[in-house]
Subunit: 394 residues, 2 copies
């Protein structure tokens, strides 16, 4: 049974601070009022800072998938070539979305756990110069992989006229993402990951190049709720608004959470904090004698995927961590079920949650008879955290 | 400036009780946990009771418009004939959605403020026997009109094989709607109206007939986030879930709000309460010497649209009601702007909010020099409320 003391260390939704949660208990205001418009504008402006873009940003009431859908359905029409490298559950989703709209999908399957190489994109674009969209997942939470998105962006711009669609749902706010500098045409984020807001809002950035494509597609486009032109039209009104009723309390929460990132902690510090925490978790896990799942050098900064050692059962490991120590971590998805576990370390969590999770993992492994010396993993984490935290400007 | 004491009497979002708001400050749980699955199941079961259907019901994270879109995009493909009678802002939206998907839309324009007659639907269906979908808005909030949906359903079934798509966003829970009995194939609701939950969730019921059509359309369908088959597949899993991350706190709130309607107040009582309140508002307004906008006999039970009398300015009327008495009512939309005002009386409000609103209107009209006898309108409302409330079973 779920308990309010449970510590949720999965790759999203992430724990939400009580300050942010409390925002949602404010009375509902009219979504067509000037007061709500101010909140919307503030959220959009702060999202632009976090996306690092001077382009457009829209906030949609829906799951992150709603904006993945928007990115594809607004730019792709029947028969268009879409290049999608597949290396996990969420990159697979881009394939499914593009196929829904009748795209001619070039699906490049990589082994799960391997990173995407810019050279692969280069080769594929040379073979298929008529690709219109390249859709990439930055941080693949299903495998704990983090891809070199800056270099990929460079290759796309050098080799083609294709749009660069990038899912940064589980990394934005916790990793170095620069929409304008990296040449990302449509970047997709979600409220419930590093932004530490409850699920229910998704964000999308749209470049000038993307707008040109959207205009070109004109009547061949087939979408309504997710039609980006309607979001643009509403946001450009004298009193900016959303085209359809937004989730008012989620916007209250988002404003509070973004204000913390942008004006209290600072985006750079948030990114650095995620880097330190991920380093601490990875190092501690290795120190315990466990093996990481993703390819070395491409490990995610927001989720760590670990191979389950022989002799240990996934259900026992995660079950005991939860029942005895009240720490919830995630299992593997699809064919990785039972083979890996995943620790989410994203959002507004502090070093406390990270240390507690490592501690619980160490004790659980010991409980289950795994050959482990208590204190070694957590000691390593302490070392990294105590040194690392000094680098974060106060 | 918005103030927490403001009384929000617009046609949605509606005031949300602090009990429901407080639910949202509970910590976030994993949306893939058994605990969340239980909440989802409870919400779906209660929604079935409120829709009065044994068919399927899905809950989507998004605006009500997301489910209007789902109803059309799942059942209509390019060139299909869709009949849409247009008599307000939201029926117009059905036209726009159907056109987005390339439908051949038969748009029948009625004067705003007039009700839809079943005979018109009969005539149109006889002229166009190949219509595949008839899309109707039950309670058109832009004009305060309530249409005879039972009779319309009867005509559609008698005359054609068309699907009956019905928007009950602003009436479900506050009016007599029987999805199965009235032959409604796809009914669409929203969280933020009579269900007295914050905005951000939309609901859709799907009949067997609708599923057959959805299957028929197969690959010609073009939608992903709103693909109803994915919602069905996820809900039919051993541990029911949603296909994409749902807004966890909105589900906490929805469960609390639906529990109140179904298990505390009772659906019949909720409907009766809305009937009494709407009768009280209409009668009071007439007693003040004002004229109602919608055609007599077809007035909405959840929103009352009133003509602004000569010599009174909309901005002054609504501005003073807000600044002096802290009651927020809505203006007219599109070409009705400045010509009507609209009082929302839906959701979990009590007689207190209704009486206060009538009182504020009476005082405001007096303040603005309108020829009115204070106490007459509110007295009439008291008469109706005091008598009516006796009919609600305790």
């Amino acid at each position: 049974m779920w308990d309010e003391r449970d510590l949720l260390m999965i790759p999203g939704p992430t724990p939400v601070s009580s300050k942010v949660l409390r925002e949602m208990s404010k009375p509902i205001m009219s979504h067509r009022s000037k007061d709500f418009s101010e909140i919307l504008k503030e959220c959009v402006e702060m999202m632009k800072e976090i996306f690092r873009t001077k382009g457009d940003v829209f906030i949609v009431t829906g799951s992150g998938t709603a904006c993945m859908d928007a990115a594809i359905s607004n730019t792709v029409s029947e028969g268009d070539k879409v290049l999608v490298p597949v290396y996990g559950k969420f990159s697979q989703r881009f394939v499914d979305i593009a196929k829904s709209y009748g795209a001619d999908v070039i699906e490049v399957k990589l082994e799960w756990g391997k990173a995407l190489r810019p050279d692969l994109i280069r080769d594929m674009l040379r073979e298929n110069p008529d690709v219109e969209v390249v859709a990439v997942v930055h941080n693949e939470t299903s495998t704990g992989i983090r891809n070199p998105i800056r270099e990929i962006g460079k290759v796309i711009r050098e080799e083609s006229e294709a749009l660069y669609v990038l899912d940064v749902i589980s990394s934005l706010g916790g990793d170095d993402i620069r929409v304008d500098d990296f040449g990302i045409d449509l970047a997709i984020a979600g409220s419930q990951k590093c932004l530490a807001t409850p699920p229910g809002l998704a964000m999308i950035s749209v470049s000038e190049r993307a707008w040109e494509r959207i205009e070109e597609k004109g009547n061949r486009r087939r979408t309504y709720y997710l039609d980006l032109k309607r979001y643009k039209g509403s946001l450009e009104k004298e009193v900016p608004e959303t085209p359809y009723t937004p989730s008012v309390p989620l916007f209250y929460a988002l404003r509070e959470a973004l204000d913390y990132i942008v004006n209290v902690e600072g985006l750079e510090n948030s990114i650095k904090r995620h880097e330190i925490f991920s380093d601490a978790v990875r190092s501690a896990v290795r120190e315990m004698g466990l093996e990481l799942f993703p390819e070395r050098g491409y490990e995610s900064r927001t989720v760590t995927a670990v191979k389950i050692p022989e002799g240990i059962e996934d259900k026992e490991l995660r079950g005991r961590m939860r029942s005895k120590y009240r720490v919830i971590i995630a299992g593997g998805q699809d064919h990785l079920s039972g083979k890996i576990f995943r620790i989410g370390h994203m959002g507004s969590i502090t070093e406390r949650e990270v240390l507690i999770t490592i501690s619980a993992l160490e004790m659980t492994l010991k409980d289950l008879g795994f050959d482990i010396e208590l204190g070694k993993g957590i000691g390593k984490a302490e070392e990294i955290i105590s040194t690392g935290m000094d680098q974060i400007a106060k």
